[in-house]
């Protein structure tokens, strides 16, 4: 054969990368090896700070001025990239390696039209004529399924949606027909439905263009969907290398095992299963443990782990792990200890038939949008929340899910009083709460608290943790004045932070710890209802598990009611008792968690469920993709708001004409489960389950 197919596109051998710092060289990546064949997708997973991106940057030699490859080889198409002159590398980068970054907005020039940016690639690299280059770009945009490509070429990046931006970036990366495409968290910033379409696109590129793909992600579900082979990185080392099926179902390294157990799978719920957090955090590369790098966080650590660094060795054909006891881990002989998970078994039936604590009826929150005319003109309103009715019973958890821009956060802000409702009846413990927070009395504020998404921007950077928790404690008179300090210590203990955190400043804490402080502050006044707005979405999976467990514990100990907003359907399913699915300002399905995740589905819920990436290679999902983007809330479609994208409209007579004209009725599947759709319940009941798991073949 002229090109034996076994020349890998990329063969990384014992790569080590260091960054020069004021305190000497810091080894960010050590001894990383992997190969990617032509047309194969290889994933690298790990928590943040594990060196995933450093590996990617070293391949394209983008390490920055202080980064350098200190050891190893990067063989690209059989030739070593290490030590080649910059000029040659620049050629290869432009022509044969392309990279797609996490945030499409940062990869696109905001001041240039998309067409010009894309054509520039061809004009600069291939010396093409403007006209010809533009034609090529339009063709490429069509290939990535961009609607109306000729029009998109004339727009600026801010005029298209996030998913479309990412498509433009991918199209741009493919213009030169690269043999290797490096994708660094390309879907992290996108909604699940958009993410699903981007992942479909990646899979297609792989087969159609024979492009080798190196996919970096922290999301185990995404990795299971796109790739065949996976490398797990921890603290700058490759700790496991295996096929996706092996790594997910029979991990050989305790870190991989722990990662698999700290994310909820779709269908898990809090009454029947646990999340295992990983204690501690990733060690900084300047201060690594002497033995196994994972030893301080490992639940199976033995003395030998502290003394000797394990080598990456082949445990079985095609499956490598860096652990002294890999065989035992693989055989499932080592089990995660139970003391990590709080005692949560009394969670199950509490709150059944309890009184209604919060009820929202026909709430509307409109934002006024400036009229396009200079003088006069009709006022326009962004209908962020439009006729929403939900209720929460005492001690239970309400989950609110939906794509971004569906009004989840506005609903939360309306309840908490940061926005004033335009219309509707909001009642909390029998008190009307349609007043803004500044006019509410202290008792109401005390009983209605919130945990925010981003702990960085909600903690005051110049006050110590202790004083920030002490303030609400004192204001709400939760305890007598003399006991405030003791109460704060108690709260810190409850958050598993300890009294020594009292005097620390927020910048001295990690993301997970900051979020715990945020929770401690919210529960300091012993509120009846806590609203959590995406409390775990900015955290690493291992920390996410710990925070979720903590919230469960708080709920159990204090009997707090919670409203939990998230876009991750697996987390919501795990955490909530009742779920409201929102689309474009309206609730489309409302009911108990288990009912939402089984037929009858609202067509939108069905699409969301089929899009959510599941970290289990055995699962089969129905393939339903929503076309188009969420319509503008300024001028929502008439009738059923979902009709423009609904994949199930054809089930109705006349192609679903009724959906365009008439507002759908609320259909009650059970007493508590209602669906906002024209399609008769019998039809909806007949649909198959979206997610099916193959029979378990072995004990994992």
């Amino acid at each position: 054969m002229q090109q034996p197919r076994d020349i890998p596109v990329l063969d990384v051998k014992n790569l080590a990368v260091s960054y020069e710092t004021r305190y000497g060289d810091v080894q960010a990546v050590r001894d990383v090896s992997f190969t990617i064949q032509r047309g194969e997708a290889y994933s690298i997973v790990g928590e943040s700070g594990c060196g995933k991106s450093t590996v990617a940057f070293s391949i394209v030699s983008f390490l920055g001025r202080n980064g350098k490859i200190v050891d190893g080889h990067i063989m690209f198409q059989g030739r070593d990239l290490v030590g080649r002159p910059q000029e040659e590398l620049r050629h290869i980068r432009g022509d044969q390696i392309a990279m797609v970054y996490q945030d499409p907005m940062q990869a696109l020039n905001p001041s240039m039209r998309l067409g010009d940016q894309m054509a520039e690639v061809l004009i600069a690299h291939r010396g093409m004529e403007q006209k010809e280059a533009e034609e090529k770009c339009i063709q490429m945009l069509e290939r990535v399924y961009m609607p109306d490509p000729a029009n998109v070429m004339r727009r600026y990046p801010h005029q298209i949606s996030g998913g479309q931006q990412q498509r433009v970036v991918i199209a741009m990366a493919l213009l030169n027909g690269p043999s290797l495409l490096i994708m660094d968290e390309p879907t992290t910033a996108l909604d699940v439905t958009v993410e699903a379409t981007v992942l479909d696109l990646v899979a297609e590129l792989q087969t159609r263009f024979d492009t080798a793909i190196m996919y970096i992600s922290h999301n185990l579900g995404v990795v299971a969907r796109v790739s065949d082979e996976v490398g797990v990185m921890y603290a700058g080392e490759m700790v496991e290398r295996a096929s996706v099926a092996d790594a997910y179902l029979r991990p050989g390294h305790p870190y991989t095992l722990a990662l698999m157990h700290c994310v909820p799978r779709l269908g898990m719920d809090k009454s029947s299963s646990y999340l295992y957090p990983i204690r501690g955090r990733v060690p900084p590369p300047s201060n690594l443990p002497p033995g196994c790098v994972f030893e301080p966080r490992c639940d199976f650590a033995r003395p030998v782990c502290r003394q000797r660094r394990p080598e990456l060795r082949e445990v079985e054909p095609g499956h490598c792990a860096r652990c002294h006891f890999a065989e035992q881990v693989l055989a499932g002989e080592l089990r995660l200890p139970d003391d990590l998970i709080p005692d949560l078994d009394k969670m199950t039936t509490r709150g059944e038939g309890a009184e209604r604590i919060l009820s929202v009826e026909h709430a509307r929150t409109y934002y006024e949008a400036p009229s396009k005319r200079l003088i006069g003109g009709k006022k326009q309103y962004v209908k962020a929340v439009d006729d929403v009715s939900v209720e929460v019973r005492k001690g239970r958890t309400l989950g609110i899910v939906g794509e971004s821009g569906c009004g989840k956060s506005t609903l939360a802000k309306t309840i908490i009083g940061l926005e004033t409702p335009t219309d509707g009846k909001l009642e909390f413990m029998g008190v009307d709460i349609s007043t803004p927070v500044s006019q509410r009395d202290l008792d109401l504020i005390k009983n209605l608290q919130m945990v925010f998404q981003n702990p960085d921007s909600t903690l005051n950077p110049s006050f110590s943790v202790g004083s920030q928790i002490a303030r609400p404690t004192r204001r709400f008179r939760a305890v007598p004045h003399s006991q405030v300090h003791a109460e704060v210590i108690r709260l810190l203990d409850m958050m598993r932070l300890g009294a020594n955190y009292y005097d620390r400043l927020p910048r001295q804490l990690s993301g997970g710890e900051k979020q715990r402080v945020g929770i401690a502050r919210a529960i300091a006044g012993r509120p009846e209802l806590v609203l959590c707005d995406e409390p775990v979405s900015s955290l690493d999976v291992s920390v996410q598990a710990a925070v979720l467990n903590l919230l469960l514990q708080v709920q159990q100990e204090m009997g707090t009611t919670m409203a939990f907003i998230a876009h991750d359907l697996s987390v919501v399913r795990f955490f909530c008792d009742t779920i409201a699915v929102m689309y474009l300002g309206q609730v489309v399905e409302f009911g108990p968690a288990e009912a939402i995740y089984a037929p009858p589905y609202h067509p939108y819920t069905e699409a969301l469920l089929s899009a959510v990436p599941i970290p289990d290679p055995r699962t089969e999902q129905k393939h339903i993709r929503l076309s188009g983007t969420v319509p503008s809330a300024l001028n929502p479609p008439g009738g059923c708001r979902f009709h423009t994208r609904c994949p199930r409209r054809h089930m109705l007579p006349d192609g679903g004409r009724i959906c365009e004209v008439e507002v759908p009725p609320w259909q009650c599947a059970t007493e508590e489960h209602r669906i906002f759709c024209h399609i008769p319940l019998e039809e909806l009941r007949k649909m198959d389950k979206v997610v099916t798991v193959e029979e378990e073949t072995h004990a994992g």
């Binding site: 002229q2 034996p4 020349i7 596109v9 059989g78």
Partner: protein, 217 residues
Amino acid sequence: MLVKDYMTRHPCMAEPNMSVIEAQRYMWENGIRHLPIVGDGKRLLGLVTRQTLLVDPARLGSLDMWEISRFLSGLTLKDVMVKARDVITVEEDTAVEEAARIMVENRIGCLPVVEGGVVVGIITDTDLLTQLMEMMATRVPGVRVTIRMPNVRGELAKLVAAIGAQGWGILACGGVPVPRQPDTWEAVVKIRNVPGEEVVAALGQVEGQEIVDVREM
């Protein structure tokens, strides 16, 4: 059955200023026989094969030892490659047999696949043999029968009808004129999941046709 289905996408390539010595090592280490030489944007500039890398002894004969080493170390691919204007190329949408004809008539072993001056792949003799192999379903077990028939319209249809009557599936089928016998054709048919005797029994009945060879493979 077009070039794009059988070519190797993303072939290994080299720049014109790579030294001959480095290129030689690169090709040996990776088992490469043909190396397209590309410039910016993967535009085809030339082609290097193992033959082009052989240094003409007559040229070296006139040099002394010191000159030889200087001559060799200074040699780059630019100096030895077949220039782009002399390289025969095909496009992605060329038919595979057309590519084969070009290679046979020019007695060459590879064709760079070029779209708008840019190398998108390479197709070699090995790829064409792979295609022949796939066409004859070599990897799938079955009965392979060779049948000789007169060069008359409708003969192949008779054969196919006979196979169809038995309810068998055809894995692969091909026909060639018999060399030096312009009136006779040979058809090769591969049939799945049947014993050889049954095939002989059924196809032996076809009028005017003769089974030349039967084998299970």
